[in-house]
Amino acid sequence: MGGRCERFSYPLGTRRLAWENIRSRPFRSLCLMLAAAVVGCSLFGGSVLVIGLERGLRSVGERFGADLMVVPAGAARKAEAILLGGDPGYFHFDGGVADKIARMDGVERVSPQLFMTSLSADCCDALVQLVAFDPATDFVVQPWLARSLGSGLRDGEMVAGNNILVRPDRTVRLFGRRYPVAAKLARTSTGFDTSLFMSRATARQVVAAAQAEELDSPIDPVPEGAVSAVMVKVAEGHTPVYVAWRIRRDNPGVDVIVSQSVVSAISGSLRKFTGRVRDLSCAIWLAAALILAALFAGSANGRKKEFALLRVLGATKGRLAALVLCESALVCAAGGALGVALAALAVFPFNAYIGVKLQLPMLTPAPEAVAALVVASFAATAALGPLAAGFAAVKAGASDPCLTLREGE
């Protein structure tokens, strides 16, 4: 009792009165808070998903690098799975195709790549994609390796994708031998995360070493001069689709992947998904605004005598309106904080799982973007309260206090 008297031993301001009103009606306050939490959760969770997927798509576009990718006939799906899905695989064709394509009109640069797979001895028997490139002609891998590697990749060295297990002494084990890792790449949400990159000379060393070891799963021999893919940069003034058509026509036995088509196919699925998320977030925000407006109006109607008593005690109409708005803002702010926290618990720890389930590349948004989203989602949810309670705030001081207090006599 003493504690309660102490609490009221100083004047009751609007905020204090609003807080006491919220505390004295815990069930009503909890329901309003949960409605606001749903809004906060959908706004923050939806925005993080959309931005994460857009970032993932940008990463795919940046990493693809070449305008065209020429692969053996029938290997196009496998190549896309290697690049985008992280499903390791290998295929070869004669490297002479690269020279033939390089001489074609509309082709600016070509660079062959060789794909191999390996069992990683250090990690759960997961397959690792080995990508060998030709440093002299490469224009795909080295530009973005340059960010991680200042001095270039030496023979015998490798660059590890983000999900590759690198030992503390900065080496990886392949076919029973250790190879130094020059750099580890940032996460891309593409097949590069589970790949090891090396020069063709290093790849030859790996194959020779693997064949020398007595392994349960020996590496498949790679024919001399064989390549898995020829990356093509199309010259200015030529359209990649037309050059791809001519390569297919002049080189029977090859498939051509147009990077624009791959990226725009993912972009199409992404647009559909983000559109749905945005529509759903808007619908939830509007529905919550209507529900909260009805709840606040109903509550104001039920508290007519309380408001009339406050008027009799000297509260102005403006003070009553401020009280209702303050209550709604406090409840929605608490709900917004709860919703944002719940969404964060769902979206951040499970972001890789969500990406796999959606079959779309997903990267966590940058910290500054996350901070901005937290503030924006919280503000939009907290603002919902005063907006929805506007009618109730006007109504609170509208009736005559004497008549209201005498009602029912």
């Binding site: 995360d193 499970f350 890789a352």
Partner: protein
């Protein structure tokens, strides 16, 4: 009654989820019986940790009877430590498979981490309140 349920029910629910989740709701990798996979051991250890959590939750629900409220702070501390164990088993003590696309890393690890963290937070808050209540009662 409601207060007792609020104190013990989170531990019971999280305990059951931690114990059976790695085999049902958020399963570890296929081939659970393969002892070379760390997630196999994590699932086994979590079954024990989750079982203890559920029992502690039941004890919290029952401890208000017969003037045993003073046990509540100690039980909350036990729940906190057990929840920390539920969190540490997949993240540090035993671990899960290294492959980034393996089910245990995609789903089991985050699910156990979220459940453990939430229960640690809840038991810390409830333990603090229970301790304050016992001190008030003595005062």
């Amino acid at each position: 009654m409601v207060r007792r349920l609020v104190a013990g029910l989170p531990a019971v629910l999280v305990g059951i989820l931690v114990a059976v989740g790695p085999r049902t709701l958020f399963p570890v990798c296929e081939g659970l019986d393969d002892p070379s996979m760390p997630c196999h051991w994590t699932a086994l250890v979590e079954a024990g940790v989750g079982g203890v959590l559920a029992l502690l939750g039941v004890a919290l629900i029952l401890c208000a009877r017969g003037g045993a409220e003073s046990c509540a702070p100690g039980l909350h501390v036990a729940v906190f430590l057990d929840a920390a164990l539920a969190l540490l088993v997949p993240t540090a003590l035993v671990g899960v498979c290294q492959g980034a696309h393996m089910p245990c890393r995609l789903l089991t690890l985050p699910a156990l981490a979220v459940l453990g963290s939430l229960l640690m937070l809840a038991s810390a808050m409830q333990g603090w309140r229970a301790f304050a209540g016992v001190r008030r009662g003595r005062g």
